[in-house]
Subunit: 145 residues, 2 copies
DNA sequence: ACAAAGTCTATTGAATAAGTAGTCTTTATT
DNA sequence: AATAAAGACTACTTATTCAATAGACTTTGT
């Protein structure tokens, strides 16, 4: 499961992506609009800003805006900032590799191989889906579940 | 990330899958061999047994063995027993659906649609990979990372 | 000068995961 | 029948992580 932090991060990016024509958006407004606890959102935006995805301006008339084109912000990268590894086992992670404690021999581990496949399948989606894509899908009927 | 519980469950199933020609395996042996805390493993095996995947026998000479063919035990089903939902957001879950707290309108939610895609990609692997497949991959060179 | 923003770090509280303990039940063996 | 070797079941404890909160500081526009 995604942490709330990550979910909030995506929601914030989507909201800011829809706000590009307007002046920067204040944390308080964003928090209200997206139903996110204000101080928690504050930290999340900070992280995204420090990672280069957001631009912020202090003082009166300040606020947050995207620092990249929404089409260039991929969910995989956001998840990694807020949740860390995307793989389901540390030894299958591309960016946060760690040996599993109880692993006898990684080279022959069938579990690892399987979860590398899972990771690749997941990334196939997440590293190709941008904030712009998420926004674009909001008003289409492409999924009828 | 997979919980340790799930990882231990898979390891246990794999070990038991390799043990099918032999008499049932005792918890203690399995725990030692796979480096899993004994009492924790006990609970996990119980869950798998109650879900119909394992057969157990009490008393001297007792122990655990698979109750199905290793080729018919799919990882997706195991994950659901030990970790619950496979989807990354509750509203995208096939078997454990739950509405997201902060969701305005699920029908148009781009995040949901995206994570349904992720779920499908993940299941594409997990619901086709059996314990037998995991065992089979242990001694192949099909992945050179 | 002051108010309206964001910045940064620390702390608290709650939930969940991980592990432990102990008693009960079944079964094989002697 | 007694005993020992297993698993069954429930309750509890501890550790970790997540979520949220607090508060003092900095920048900037008017």
């Amino acid at each position: 499961m995604l942490s709330k932090k990550t979910k909030y991060a995506i929601k914030a990016l989507v909201a800011l992506g829809k706000n590009v024509e307007n002046p920067p958006m204040q944390i308080v407004r964003l928090a209200e609009q997206e139903m996110i606890p204000r101080k928690f959102l504050e930290q999340i935006l900070l992280d995204l800003r420090n990672a280069g995805y957001l631009y912020s301006k202090k003082g009166a008339g300040g606020g947050y805006s995207l620092n990249k084109n929404a089409a260039d912000i991929y969910l995989a990268d956001i998840l990694r900032i807020t949740d860390g590894p995307i793989a389901m086992v540390p030894c299958a992670s591309l960016k946060f590799y760690r040996k599993c404690d109880e692993c006898h021999d990684e080279k022959t581990c069938g579990i690892r191989k399987t979860f590398i496949d899972v990771r690749d399948a997941t990334l196939q989606v997440l590293s190709r889906t941008s904030v712009a894509d998420v926004i674009a899908r909001e008003n289409t009927d492409d999924l009828l579940v």
